[in-house]
């Protein structure tokens, strides 16, 4: 088959070397280490590609974590796919030694569990901290005639731009539709930028996103904010009413949460060390300012608080599969 034996042998040798090299690269180095209490590598799995806000949050946090965990080496590892699911999958496969953590996007991850798409249970996760909680801002096109939430309610059918339907933006829009009784037609896009452009063009009537995502376009008049899904008005947009003022207090928590969790079964001692380090890092004024500069609001909550959030969300989403089917048609 091969005209030259030399070629065959070189080929096989290169194949062995390559596979060995790749295996070595992929080896979990912490398996070779003794299980010390938080020294060595700590991998922080990020379930979205490098460059986005999710990834940015992790990378901005890393230097402060290093200060508070000086004997460790924090490695941010991007594992994109499945709308954040693959990153969590990787976490649940890891050893519960505190050397593997993941950044969770909620309620997206919770929704995936509620619709039966995952093998893991977020209730079993070792929750460390909430990092960011950002309310969604309801915006319409700058050129539309809609100036308030009441104006929006007058439309017979409201085209709502989302990123997928079985996702954070999708489920939040569904929640709004269910609680307000508005006739939402969800129009799923591949990414937030696509949905935002669609709103600017007027191809969709309404989108819900964090203020930071829309800020520049609001300032330029391309988009117009009409409601904030929170119980208090934003400093940056004092004239935009809250959803509570619009008569829907149940929707005051529509937004996105970024939280840190570890593998199920981490010892209490290790979890406490991690919790303390994250608390100090997240509450570092310098970190909070940097996050504010990139449009993310740091709101710390401890692991126990996160457990309550998860329970609440899973309870809210117990009929999610049926509801999503309804809005998928």
């Amino acid at each position: 088959m091969f005209k030259m034996n030399t070629g065959k042998y070189i080929f096989i040798l290169m194949l062995i070397i390559t596979l060995g090299f790749v295996a070595g690269c992929g080896a979990n180095t912490k398996k070779a280490e003794k299980e010390k209490s938080l020294s060595g590598n700590i991998e922080l799995f990020v379930g979205f590609p490098a460059g986005g806000s999710f990834d940015l949050l992790a990378r901005l946090l890393t230097p402060y974590l290093q200060q508070n965990l000086p004997e460790t080496n924090i490695i941010v590892k991007n594992i994109p796919g499945g709308d954040g699911v693959l990153g969590v999958n990787e976490l649940y496969k890891a050893k519960p030694d505190g050397h593997s953590l993941a950044l969770f996007s909620l309620p997206g991850n919770t929704l995936k569990q509620a619709t039966g798409e995952t093998t893991w249970d977020l209730r079993e996760c070792t929750w460390i901290a909430q990092v960011v909680k950002t309310p969604y801002l309801g915006v319409v096109s700058g050129k539309s005639g809609i100036n308030s939430f009441d104006d929006l309610k007058k439309l017979d059918r409201i085209r709502v731009g989302t990123i997928g339907i079985n996702s954070t933006t999708g489920i939040n829009s569904i929640l709004v539709a269910e609680k307000t009784g508005l006739n939402f037609k969800l129009i799923a896009h591949q990414g937030g930028g696509d949905a935002m452009l669609a709103c600017i063009r007027g191809d969709v009537d309404f989108i819900e996103y964090p203020y930071a995502t829309c800020q520049q376009n609001i300032e330029q008049g391309n988009l117009k904010p009409i409601v904030i899904f929170s119980d208090k008005r934003m400093e940056e947009l004092p004239n935009v009413p809250t959803i509570v003022e619009c008569g829907y207090p149940d929707l005051a928590n529509v937004g996105i949460i970024y939280a840190i969790g570890g593998t199920p079964g981490i010892s209490k001692e290790t979890a406490d060390i991690l919790s303390e380090a994250f608390q100090k890092s997240i509450n570092n004024p310098e970190y909070i300012k940097k996050m504010k500069d990139v449009g993310m609001d740091v709101i710390y909550k401890d692991g126990e608080g996160m457990k309550e959030v998860i329970e609440q969300q899973l309870n809210d989403f117990k009929d999610a599969k049926t509801i999503i089917d309804k809005y998928s048609k």
């Binding site: 070629g7 290169m14 790749v22 693959l86 997928g164 452009l197 330029q220 990139v294």
Partner: protein, 488 residues
Amino acid sequence: MEYVNTLIHWPGPFFLIGGTIIGFIFGILPGLGGLQVLALLTPLTFGMDPQYAFILLIGAMGAVPAGGSVSAILINTPGTSQNVAAALDGYPLTQQGKAGYALGASVWSSCLGGIFGAAILMMLIPVTRKVVLAFSYPEFFMLALLGICSISALSTGNRWKGLISGFLGLFLTIIGSDPIVGIPRLDFGIDYLSDGIKLIPVVIGVYAITEAVDLLLKGEAISAIKIETSIKDIFSGAFEILRNWFLFIRCSIIGVIIGIIPGIGGVVANFLAYSHAVQTEKNGKFGCGDVRGVIAPESAINAKDGGALVPTLTFGIPGSAEMAILLGALTIHGLEPGPKLLNSSILYNIVWTLVISNILVALLITFSSKYLCLITQIQVRFVAPIIFTLGILGAYATDGLWEDVIAAFIFGIVGLAMKRLGYSRVCLIIALVLGAIIEQNLYLTLSSMGIAGFFERPISLGLFIVTVLITISPLLPKIKRKRKCHVC
């Protein structure tokens, strides 16, 4: 002027040249490209002066496409997925002993295309908003449909085999998550497939691995003709751009337009430009080593970067995956991407860096071409294992997943079978890229505008008419079409 001083005075040149070289290396290695080089370099820029951070990042990003073309032309292994079309005529030229000529046409088309794209960007600043907003779901759908219909133009030999390859590519796009609801389909319960078949492992498989194994089976060097490549050969190829200046301009415009449209990407620009050349140029021997088949896609690739900056800077919405990472880097360094940037000196900084990076990498390739082309003379028992190894490493380097390596192996076998049986690999790639865009935008158009949306909008209607004409042109007896003689 201040920025020019930054580029001229140390350490500006260090970052510019360093970024260009790093980008070139990433481009030339299969599986690595703009995404990976930006992801790798961005954390390194933390703490740097923002000016130098941009020089490094943009310099690297600008050099990647040219690097990818080198491997596409010399070893029929595109360095990035947007260099696939360059191999269609570039590699046959290499096999004919004209590697230097092909590289010259490629690298200087790429360089001049990049400058053209930057110039168009500056001209479009007053109207960027209108241009970006003119394209919506129907236009995206029609562009993707136009690309799919170009399969008939790119099919070599038996046209039906090209269509079969295209249908295989479309079928592969079904695997993964439903783009509307996000529910998995045809993923066989495998997590890796939840996001569908990834493009990079497929390209590595059907090109790098297929070519490596095929070379070993044949046992010959890439070029049977021994030649000495000189700078004269490079400029001989570059001169062809002047002889085909109108084609160059048209294809650069295609690249800019595709770059402006978020989510379409450089791969589409590549194919559309090549297809356009095949459709419009007379007496073509495309697929057999026609230099116009190198000029066309290469003009579009770098021109696309200028276009991709338009939505990125106008709305803060990335025009490509690389722009998404660049946006993140800009944010980290305290800049707010969006309309404010259009009126700032930062825009000029970005444009100048892109232009100079393109020129630098063109000079780099020009003066190192003699050594680069030696690859084609090396005995296959040495070069094939290296290509194979680089392909495997590139597949793993994409996301650090073993599964990508396995996927590359599988598609290596598929690619080898396709090559031996005369099925077009490039048609598979086109359909894989465009299938998802077609499905998504068909749904979006019907959901928000109804079927009338395709025909009430002038750009969409125009693209539809062009698509119909391209599709039926092979059936029109008066239109003579040259049959290509090389299976791509």
